[in-house]
């Protein structure tokens, strides 16, 4: 199953609807990085609200995506982690260090525009 990547202004939105295989995740990672380059996107939002479980590989991939798109000049925000998923993740030691997170798509967009506002006025 491939993950749809939507373009919304300066942002890309990838919405993971159901559990993905490792291969699908790797494909998603590459596709997202490609799209950032093509569209000159300023940020990507990855919506994981459809996931009932986030394992070590998924967590690792989310970190990889953050680092990859950063190299391409964009920010990444992971949104929609369910409370029980978050609890399970910290128990497993998956903290997503260095990854920006937000409650849902709305908050993710707000976070990005706040960052943009900061950059504009301080620059």
């Amino acid at each position: 199953m491939t993950v749809p990547i939507l373009k919304q202004g300066d942002y890309l939105i990838g919405s993971i609807q159901s559990a993905l295989t490792d291969t699908d995740l790797i494909e998603f990672r590459s596709a997202l990085a490609d799209q950032v380059g093509k569209n000159r996107s300023r940020a990507v939002i990855i919506d994981v609200s459809g996931l009932d479980i986030i394992d070590s590989f998924t967590a690792r991939t989310l970190q990889d995506i953050t680092n990859t798109v950063k190299l391409k000049g964009a920010r990444a925000v992971v949104v929609g982690i369910q409370p029980q998923v978050a609890f399970a993740m910290v128990q497993l030691g998956l903290y997503l260090d260095g990854v920006a997170t937000a409650l849902d798509l709305d908050e993710g967009l707000a976070l990005l525009s706040a960052g943009a506002a900061r950059r504009t006025s301080s620059g």
């Binding site: 409370p83 903290y95 990854v99 997170t101 908050e107 993710g108």
Partner: protein, 311 residues
């Protein structure tokens, strides 16, 4: 053989045949002086404030009925060796009074008062027969202390343990409120000892609270936490990290000097935490973070205090 065998107090056979015989004789003396023994015992009971209060709440006819019932049960137990009814009754009464809050000490007072007057009567009745007197007194003591008081004690313990369990449940439910302080800001005051079960519950409630109230910042106040160790610190870190996964930053406040020294001494790395000394400065800090997330603050602030992902 049978007279010297070990007595199993938990089984139906409480007393040896010799003891049972002695108790039969004891019952005769007891029955003969019943009114006097009761009067002395009741006087002793009335001198105890806790007992007096409980007895004053009982209806006189109820008390009389209880006494009559207990007298019949004592008769069939001591004379005929039918112990089960009176043992059941002791257990029931013990639990009942334990729930009413009567101190165990009061039972001791009644039993020793009764023992004293009964022994006096026994000495009058068997003054010339020391050997028999000794057997009866020993049987009496066994009946009163090894059997009656031990059983009442057991029910007291069971009742208290039940109460403690109930209270623990209540404390657990009451002690982890998640309070919305203003839009986007939650307060989690932690009071009391944190064990792993409680830490889990605390985290779950906080995460649910973050989602329900769409919180961006949570203030975790530890003023009410008496002691911390590495396990508690670890739980705390997990809570903060789980909150972060939901997009909420945590500010930890109220770590006492003692706790701070303990954490430093055991070498827990809390460098990822935003901490302030008390709740007030914690809320200030949280408000600053809220403003920062809205993009209204630009410069003039040391960003080392920001959660990692925001730097």
């Amino acid at each position: 053989m049978t007279e010297n065998r070990q007595v199993d107090l938990s089984g139906p056979q409480l007393f040896t045949r010799q003891e049972q015989e002695a108790l039969g004789l004891l019952w005769e003396v007891y029955e003969r002086h019943y009114d006097e023994i009761m009067a002395v015992t009741m006087a002793a009971a009335n001198s105890d404030p806790a007992l007096k209060q409980i007895m004053s709440q009982m209806r006189p006819d109820q008390m009389e009925a209880d006494q009559l019932k207990s007298r019949r049960q004592t008769e069939s137990a001591m004379r005929d060796g039918k112990w089960q009814p009176i043992l059941d009754d002791i257990r029931e009464q013990g639990g009942h009074y334990a729930q009413m809050g009567l101190p165990f000490q009061s039972w001791f007072l009644i039993v020793t008062a009764a023992q004293k007057i009964i022994i006096e009567k026994l000495f009058e009745a068997y003054a010339g027969d020391a050997a028999r007197l000794q057997v009866i007194v020993l049987a009496l003591n066994k009946w009163f202390f090894d059997v009656t008081l031990a059983r009442i004690g057991e029910t007291y313990l069971a009742t208290r343990e039940h109460v403690i369990r109930q209270q623990q449940e209540a404390i657990k439910e009451l002690s982890t409120p998640v309070l919305p302080l203003r839009a986007g800001l939650l307060l989690l005051p932690v009071i009391g000892v944190i064990d792993s079960q409680r830490a889990r519950q605390l985290t779950e409630q906080l995460l649910d609270g973050i989602r329900t109230h769409r919180a961006k910042v949570v203030v975790i106040d530890l003023t009410g936490v008496p002691a911390v160790d590495s396990a508690v610190a670890n739980h705390l870190l997990q809570t903060v990290r789980a909150a972060k996964l939901l997009g909420a930053s945590a500010v930890v406040t109220g770590i006492s000097t003692e706790n701070a020294q303990t954490l430093t001494r055991i070498g827990v790395d809390l460098s990822g935490l935003v901490t302030t000394s008390d709740l007030q400065s914690g809320v200030d800090e949280a408000e600053w973070l809220l403003e920062f997330f809205r993009g209204r603050h630009q410069t003039g602030r040391d960003e080392r205090q920001l959660p990692v992902a925001e730097r």
